[in-house]
């Protein structure tokens, strides 16, 4: 299915967020996630499944002032 990953279209297979992160290669990376602008905590990722057209944001630590 096609979702929007960090603002870019992306074809993905896995539906469950945990699997999806693995599929996308984030592995153990220290990231936070939001689906359709709602925060998804690490603990909730297993219950969250994505559907066609969903928007997924994956963020990580970055420089800031």
């Amino acid at each position: 299915m096609r979702i929007t990953l960090n603002g870019e279209p992306r074809d993905v297979t896995a539906a469950r967020l945990t699997d999806l992160l693995t599929e996308l290669g984030y592995g153990e990376a220290r990231v936070a996630t939001a689906v359709n602008e709602e925060f998804v905590a690490v603990g909730n990722r297993p219950e969250v499944t994505l559907a066609e057209g969903d928007r997924l944001e994956i963020v990580a630590p970055m420089q800031g002032g």
Partner: protein, 256 residues
């Protein structure tokens, strides 16, 4: 000494991590600054992206981490960002920015107070980037904030303290609240001045990161905040409109 949600800072300087020429210079600048806090943000991460190395770099600093919500323009955006930050950085601290204006990057005080309320109720320890408005300050405190961070001048402008009168009034109004001048500091004399007014810390980034020699400037800022605090504690002389000889007048020899 006032603490920040119970934490005492090693040094009343909060230093940003953005815009340094290189990670190595960032680390060196932080060491030179002895900063008590480092500020960070969250940005989109590609698989195997730079965020992981950055995080490793930050951890090595061994400092309390203050994530920000930079660039957020709405309560919802700021709140969601805060939640992501709490998870990623594993801290209750959040530097709450809700930007209201693009040219001045001034806070939207209405959204700021609302976001502060939501996050405080949710257990966050909010460091609000605010204006020098006393009433906004009161609202933020009522919303649960135990720290206030008024701006000195627009972010990245380096203009210093645009309204010293208002900053003094804020110090007088909130004697018990830790106050931080956040944004606008361009040179050490600005930072020293903020501390001379009785502020508890200064938060800055651009002035160090964009200096020709960030490490040297980081050191300069560390010295300046320490100088300003020491002066505040030392009870400075009152300015006088007339001169007063330092060398005693009596006992002067008659030689003409």
């Amino acid at each position: 000494m006032r603490t920040f949600y119970g934490t005492e800072l090693a040094n009343p300087l909060m230093l940003g991590t953005a815009g340094y020429p290189s990670p190595a210079i960032l680390s060196e600048a932080f060491r030179a600054s002895g900063a008590g806090v480092c500020t960070v943000s969250l940005r989109r991460e590609a698989a195997g992206g730079a965020g992981q190395d950055f995080w490793a770099l930050i951890r090595e600093l061994g400092l309390p981490v203050l994530p920000n919500t930079a660039g957020c323009h709405t309560v919802k955006e700021a709140v969601t960002t805060a939640h992501m930050a709490r998870e990623v950085f594993d801290t209750l601290w959040i530097k709450l920015e809700v930007i209201g204006h693009t040219d001045t990057l001034q806070p939207d005080v209405f959204a700021l107070v609302e976001a502060a309320r939501v996050l405080s109720e949710d257990g966050f320890q909010v460091f609000p980037y605010t204006t020098d408005d006393l009433i906004v300050g009161e609202r933020l405190i009522a919303a649960g904030c135990e720290v206030l961070m008024p701006w000195g001048a627009p972010i990245g402008s380096g203009l210093g303290l645009n309204n010293e009168y208002a900053l003094r009034a804020m110090r007088a109004e909130f004697p018990e609240v830790p106050l931080v001048v956040d944004a606008g500091v361009g040179v050490p004399s600005h930072a020293a001045r903020a501390m001379e007014l009785g502020y508890d810390a200064v938060l800055l980034n651009t002035a160090v990161a964009q200096a020709g020699d960030p490490v040297q400037m980081a050191r300069a800022m560390a010295l300046a905040v320490e100088a300003g605090r020491a002066a505040f504690e030392a009870d400075p002389m009152e300015p006088r409109d007339m001169a007063e000889p330092s060398t005693p007048v009596i006992g002067k020899a008659f030689l003409s």
